[in-house]
């Protein structure tokens, strides 16, 4: 009981501290420049996603490092069509990622189904996940992905996406 209270109090204090401007700014700066996307190719847009981290476009310049495990990452790129089977997996991935986390839907399919909009086997990412940025195109150019990263960074640094809840 007492311990629980202490825990709560500590959390409260930490929350107060965190939401103070300099610390919050530092935190948001850190997160914005350390976006690690999950290695989760849902569909053919993955080809362009791969090209975006490749030498010509080199998304790593933004601190964007495609990483191995989902437990260490904080961005989920939905790379194109989400079939029903993959939708389940996407939900698992999203929920198992640690907070704070962001979702970007990539490609026409990732937004509204694109050319497959009337297929019987797809779901729209925005129906199952809280998507914050959409990148149109089929497939979007790697520049689009870079633009999405910039947009995400901007949003994070504005404090729109990372909320300290307790």
């Amino acid at each position: 009981m007492w311990v629980a209270n202490l825990d709560k109090a500590a959390k409260k204090a930490a929350a107060w501290l965190i939401n103070k401007t300099p610390i919050r700014n530092i935190r948001d700066w850190g997160i914005a420049f350390s976006l690690w996307p999950v290695h989760f190719t849902t569909s053919c847009c993955g080809a362009e996603f791969a090209a975006a981290v490749a030498p010509k476009f080199d998304a790593e310049r933004f601190g964007f490092l495609p990483f191995i495990g989902i437990r260490q990452c904080n961005v989920l790129f939905i790379e194109g069509t989400l079939s029903k089977k993959m939708g389940e997996a996407a939900k698992w991935v999203y929920e198992q990622m640690p907070e704070p986390k962001f979702v970007v839907a990539m490609g026409a399919c990732g937004i509204d189904g694109g050319i497959f909009w009337n297929s019987y086997n797809i779901v729209r990412p925005k129906d199952i996940l809280p998507v914050s940025v959409f990148v149109p195109g089929c497939p979007p150019r790697p520049e689009g992905i870079a633009q999405a990263i910039i947009m995400l960074q901007r949003k994070i640094r504005k404090g729109e996406l990372v909320k300290y809840e307790f």
């Binding site: 079939s83 029903k84 089977k85 389940e88 009337n118 297929s119 019987y120 086997n121």
Partner: protein, 158 residues
């Protein structure tokens, strides 16, 4: 080997199996058989050098019949590789079962499975009948490639 030659050779090989053979220039040979003869025909064809299946197509003619087409060709004999053998069989609409040819042509394994999954044809002797291949395991309802399975369409007007 030219087209006519091959056709006559196949005709010769399949004589007692009552298969209808027709050709379409330059390289497609259609062989229609009933489903109880299909395994033997396939074996004969394999003996003739057609060692693999490139595609298995199932076609749905609603309330009439299903047609299963095996497109076979050869890798080991490059003379034959130019030709595509369409081994066709018709199945009654209410009983779409046919013997599986994976014993003869293992290359048909996933193709048959897919046709089972999406078209609802049952290939007897295939070890994975009843399992899903492409559709999610929880999928229920009509096999989606059937003509009765309708998908949404939108007109050109919004």
């Amino acid at each position: 080997m030219n087209f006519e030659e091959l056709k006559s050779r196949i005709e010769e090989g399949l004589r007692e199996l009552s298969a209808e053979i027709s050709g379409k220039e330059p390289n497609v040979i259609n062989i229609n058989v009933s489903r109880d003869k299909i395994v033997e025909v396939a074996k004969k064809l394999k003996a003739l050098g057609f060692d693999h299946v490139k595609a298995v197509t199932a076609i749905d003619y609603p309330n009439e019949r299903f047609e299963v087409v095996y497109i076979a060709s050869s890798y080991s004999n490059l003379d034959l590789a130019f030709f595509l053998i369409n081994l066709r069989t018709d199945l009654p609409y209410n009983d779409p079962t046919t013997p599986s040819l994976i014993e003869v042509w293992p290359s048909a394994f996933y193709q048959e499975h897919e046709e089972h999954d999406l078209m609802g044809i049952v290939f007897e002797g295939h070890p994975r009948m009843g399992e899903r291949l492409l559709l999610p395991e929880s999928y229920e309802g009509l096999p989606p490639l059937r003509k009765e399975f309708k998908i949404k369409t939108e007109g050109i007007n919004a």
